[in-house]
Symmetry: C2
Subunit: 531 residues, 2 copies
C-alpha cells in the first residue's frame, strides 16, 4: 500500500547501511528520529467537510487526508506531525470528461475552489488548500487511466490524463511502443500532472521534455471545453498547447492528452565514466551535449554527490576496489561520475556511445563499463525511497533544481551549495549538500542539488529549518540567473521567485490567460501566481 506520510509503497524499503549512517554522522552529526503521528490521529484532527453529498464525491476523513498534501518537505512535516492545517472538503472521482464537467459545476454551485489531483507527487506545494475559509473540492483524476487510441502511423497515443507512468508504459509496451518519459516520480505521477507542470524525464535527451511529447488534448475549464487538435507543427498563431503546459491547474483540468510515442528501443545501455575533477567533467559534458550525439541520457554528479552515492550504495568493499583502481587511473578525491545512456536502434545507439566514450577520454574520463549504469537503471525509481530511511534516522532530505546557460552552471551549483551550507549556520547546524546536472542541453544544464540536514523532532523548528534553507537556496538560484524550476514546477513553494524571471508583464499575461478560462478564480488558486 502507498505510504500516507512518506514516499512510495510500504513494502519497499531502501535502508541506510552503517557506512551511510557513519558518513552522514561524520558530516552533520547523528540524527534523532522524530515521532510520527498516526493516520487515525491525523484524520481525527481534520475539521468536518462542508460540501453537500454528491455521488461522485467521497467526503470521508481518510480520503480527504490522503488528498491534503503532496511530497514536498513541508508537506511531509505536516503529515508526519499530524499537523494538516487544511484538507479538501471532498474528493471527486470522475471517470470521464462529462463527470469532470459535472464536478466543476458542483464546485461552482457550492462556491468551492478546485484542486486537480494526479499522482500526488508534487514537491512544490501544488496540492494544499489555498484558503481554508472557503470549501475546496479535490478532483482525483486517477480513474481516468485508459489508452483511448493508438495511431501507429503518426506515432500518437491518446490517454485519459489521469494515467500514471507504469500504467501508461504498460499500455504502450503491449503494442511495442514507449513514451520514454521517466521522471523520478514515475511510479505515481500522471500524464496530466507531467503536462501541467512541464515535467522532464530522465531520458529527455532522446525523447524530449513533456512540452515536446504533448501533441494535443482536451481541457475542461470553467469557461467550457478546450479541444487542442494535433499537428506535427504549426505557424498558426500562438500555440494553445503552450497555454496548458505549465498552467498548474489554473485554467482547468486536462482530461485527455495525445502524446508522441516511439517504438520500444531495440537497444538500451547505460555506461559510467569517472573524471578526475569537476572542471574536466563539465567541459566534457558540454561538448557532449553540443555534439548532438544520439544519446538518451547524460547525468553528471559533482565530487560530493559521487562520494555520497558510492557510500550510500552500501557495498564498501566493492567501492574501495573501484576507488583504488580509479585513483591509479587519475581519478582520486574530487572525481565526478557521469552516467551516459543510449536507447534506440543498435545501429545508432552503439556508435553514439562509442563516440561519447571517445570524447570523454579526451577529457581524461575513465570508462568503468556498464555495471554502475545498470545498477543506476535498476534503482532509478528506488533512490527516492532513501528519504523514508533517512527520516527514520532523523535526517531530512530535500532537493532543489534549476537550469542555467553553460557559463553559469558551475557558478549556480556553487552558489546553491554555499547557500545551503550557510543556511542553518546560525543554529550551529550543518547541511550536507551535493549536486548533479540532471539534464544537459547545448545551451546549458539543469542543476539538481540535494540537501541532508538533521531534524529536531519539533514541527515548528523543523519547518523553520526548511524555510531558511529553501529561502537561501532559492535566492541563490535567482542570483545565478537560473529559472526557479527546471522540472518540478512552481506551486506555492517557488511562487515568490517567479516574477524575477517572468517580469511584471509576463506575470500579468499569465493571470490574464487564466482569467479567460477561469473568470471566478476557482481553479487551484494560490498556486503558480502568488495571490
Amino acid at each position: 500500500m502507498r505510504r500516507w506520510n512518506g514516499w512510495g509503497d510500504d513494502t519497499i524499503d531502501v535502508p541506510l547501511g552503517p557506512e551511510a549512517l557513519g558518513f552522514l554522522g561524520e558530516r552533520i552529526g547523528p540524527g534523532t528520529a522524530p515521532r510520527d503521528a498516526t493516520f487515525d490521529a491525523a484524520c481525527a484532527a481534520l475539521p468536518p467537510g462542508r460540501l453537500p453529498p454528491h455521488p461522485l464525491v467521497d467526503a470521508s476523513a481518510p480520503t480527504r487526508l490522503l488528498h491534503a498534501l503532496g511530497q514536498s518537505l513541508p508537506d511531509w512535516l505536516r503529515l508526519r506531525h499530524g499537523r494538516v492545517h487544511a484538507a479538501p472538503d471532498g474528493v471527486g472521482y470522475p471517470e470521464c470528461s462529462e463527470q469532470v464537467r459535472t464536478l466543476l459545476a458542483y464546485a461552482a454551485a457550492n462556491g468551492a475552489d478546485v484542486i486537480p489531483y494526479g499522482g500526488g507527487t508534487s514537491v512544490a506545494g501544488h496540492l494544499g488548500v489555498h484558503d481554508p475559509s472557503r470549501p475546496t473540492l479535490s478532483i482525483d483524476m486517477r480513474r481516468m487511466r485508459a489508452m483511448i487510441s493508438l495511431d501507429r502511423e503518426a506515432q500518437l497515443a491518446t490517454f485519459c490524463a489521469g494515467v500514471a507512468g507504469p500504467d501508461l508504459e504498460a499500455q504502450l509496451r503491449a503494442h511495442g511502443y514507449t513514451l520514454g518519459h521517466f521522471p523520478q516520480s514515475f511510479e505515481y505521477s500522471t500524464l496530466g500532472g507531467w503536462v501541467v507542470t512541464r515535467s522532464s524525464g530522465q531520458q529527455s535527451l532522446r525523447y524530449g521534455r513533456i512540452e515536446g511529447l504533448f501533441a494535443g488534448g482536451r481541457v475542461e475549464t470553467p469557461a467550457g471545453t478546450l479541444e487542442i487538435p494535433t499537428f506535427p507543427a504549426s505557424s498558426a498563431g500562438v500555440d494553445v498547447r503552450e497555454m496548458v503546459l505549465g498552467s498548474e491547474g489554473r485554467l482547468g483540468i486536462l482530461t485527455h492528452a495525445t502524446v508522441r510515442i516511439s517504438r520500444l528501443p531495440q537497444h538500451e545501455a547505460f555506461h559510467a565514466v569517472f573524471f578526475p575533477d569537476w572542471e574536466r567533467a563539465v567541459a566534457a559534458v558540454r561538448e557532449l551535449a553540443q555534439a548532438k550525439l544520439a544519446l538518451s541520457m547524460l547525468r553528471l554528479s559533482n565530487a560530493v554527490e559521487t562520494t555520497t552515492m558510492l557510500t550510500l550504495a552500501g557495498h564498501p568493499r566493492v567501492v574501495r576496489l573501484l576507488e583504488g583502481w580509479l585513483a591509479l587511473r587519475g581519478s582520486g578525491n574530487g572525481k565526478c561520475m557521469l552516467m551516459i545512456g543510449a536507447s534506440g536502434e543498435k545501429a545508432q545507439a552503439v556508435p553514439a556511445i562509442k563516440a561519447a566514450l571517445a570524447l570523454a577520454r579526451r577529457h581524461r574520463g575513465v570508462h568503468v563499463g556498464r555495471g554502475l549504469g545498470e545498477r543506476w537503471r535498476r534503482n532509478r525509481f528506488r533512490s527516492v525511497y532513501l528519504r523514508n530511511a533517512a527520516w527514520a534516522h532523523g535526517y531530512a532530505i530535500d532537493t532543489v533544481e534549476t537550469a542555467v546557460d553553460w557559463p553559469r552552471v558551475t557558478h549556480a551549483m556553487e552558489g546553491i551549495e554555499r547557500a545551503a551550507a550557510q543556511a542553518l549556520q546560525a543554529q550551529g547546524e550543518k547541511v550536507h549538500a551535493y549536486t548533479h546536472l540532471s539534464h544537459l542541453y547545448p545551451q546549458g544544464a539543469s542543476v539538481y542539488s540535494t540537501f541532508v540536514f538533521r531534524l529536531t523532532g519539533e514541527f515548528e523548528a523543523d519547518m523553520l529549518r526548511w524555510r531558511q534553507l529553501k529561502d537561501r537556496v532559492s535566492e541563490a538560484i535567482v542570483a545565478a540567473g537560473g529559472t526557479i524550476s527546471h522540472q518540478h514546477g512552481v506551486g506555492v513553494d517557488h511562487a515568490p521567485w517567479l516574477a524575477e524571471e517572468k517580469g511584471e508583464l509576463g506575470m500579468k499575461a499569465m493571470a490574464a490567460l487564466f482569467r479567460q478560462f477561469d473568470p471566478d478564480g476557482r481553479m487551484n488558486p494560490g498556486k503558480l501566481l502568488a495571490p
Copy 2:
C-alpha cells in the same frame, strides 16, 4: 535594387525557357502578360499621409508605398495594377529599443495603428493597413540588424531583431557559427519576422523550427517592455517565449532576440532519390522521419511537381537522359523525387545519409547522386524568382501549405490539389497544381502545394480568381484536418480559418493575451484574429 512589385533583386532573373512555356501552355493554355502600373503612378495614387512630422519617420510617398504590402498574390495584384488601396501614413526607422518606444508613444499620441515591418516578405497579408480611416504607422526594423553578443559556451547569439537572413548568417559565419534557419524568403526576411510568424527553415530537421531556436529577447509593447531571459529549459509556469511566437505583431515589437546557434557544419550534402510512385515514396519518408537519423532535410515532391521541376530546370537533353535511365530502373511516369540533406560532423552526417539511402532502397528508391541535390542547394533561394518570370508570361504562381499527421498526408494533398483544379472550372480555367512535403516529422508532414493559373490582365477578375482558389484550397486544408499554416503564419489571408483549429476558447485566450500587452488594440489590428 529590390523590386517594388515583384520578388527579389531586379538584377536577378530566372527565366522560363521554351520547354517550360510549352509545358504550361499544354496544361492550362497560353498566358497573356498584363500591363504593370509604374512606380510613380502608384505613388501618385496614394492619399496624403496624416501623421505629424517626426525625425524618425519618413512620410514620403515612395517610402509609404514600399511598406504598403507584402508578397502575397493579392498584394502583388494591387502593386502590379497600381491599386494600393491604403498605405501607412508614415514609416518609422528605429535604431534602438528606445526609439521603438518613442515611435510607439508617437503612434499612441496620434491615434495611429502600428504595423511592425521586417523583410516585407509575408505571403499571408500581414502588412496591409487594416482601417484606412485611421492613421497607421509602419515601423521598419531593418536598421536594427547588429549582433550584440555571442556566447560561444552556451551557443547563444543576441541580435537586433530587424536583421535579415544573409546579414545574420554573415555575422555568425565570421565566428564559425550558423543559425541554420533558411526559409525560402531568407534573402529578405528578418529574425523578428521569423519569430512572430513561427517560421520554419529548409533544414529544420537538423536545426529545428524558430520556436526551438528562439531562446529569449526583448519586446516593446504598449504596456511596457517585456524581457525574456534565456534558460536551457524551464518548468516555471507558462512559457513567455510562446506568447511572442506566432503573435504577428499583435502584442508589440520584438526588438532583440537571442537564438541558439550551432557550429558551422563540417560537412554538408544533398542527395536525390527517385521513387517509382507516391505510395512507396511516402512510406519511405515516414520511415525515414521516424528513424530519427541525423539528417538536415527531407523534401519529397509528388509526381506532378517532379515532372514540373525537371521540365522547368531547362536542360531538356539532360533531363531526357535522366528520365530514360530512371525508367529502366523502375521509376517512370509517376516517379517522385526526394531530396535528402545531411549537415554536421562528417562522422555523423555520412553514416546518416548512408542509412537513409539504404532505407530508401528498400522502398525501391533509386539514388541519382549529388548532382540534383547540389543544384537544388545552389538554387534554393532562386526558384521563387520564377514568380516574376511566370507573371511576365501571364501566369500567376501561388502556394498554400499546411501540416497534418501521417494518416492524413496523402488525403490532404489530394484534397488541396482537387480543390485547386476545380476552383476556376466555372470560368473554364485550368489550374496546374503540384505538391511537395517540405518538412517531415515523426508525427506527420507539411504539405506545400503550388498553383499556376492564367491571369486575365484585369485587376478585379484576377483578384476573384485568387479569392476563389484561396477559399477552396483553405476549405480543403481544414476538411483534411490540417493547420491553416505550417510556416507562413495567419495574417489576414488565413484568419477566416483559424478558429477551426483554435476553438472559441483558444481564440478568446489569444485575444485576452494580446489585450494585456496592447490594451488599446493598436498593434497590427485585423491580423491573426479577424476583427
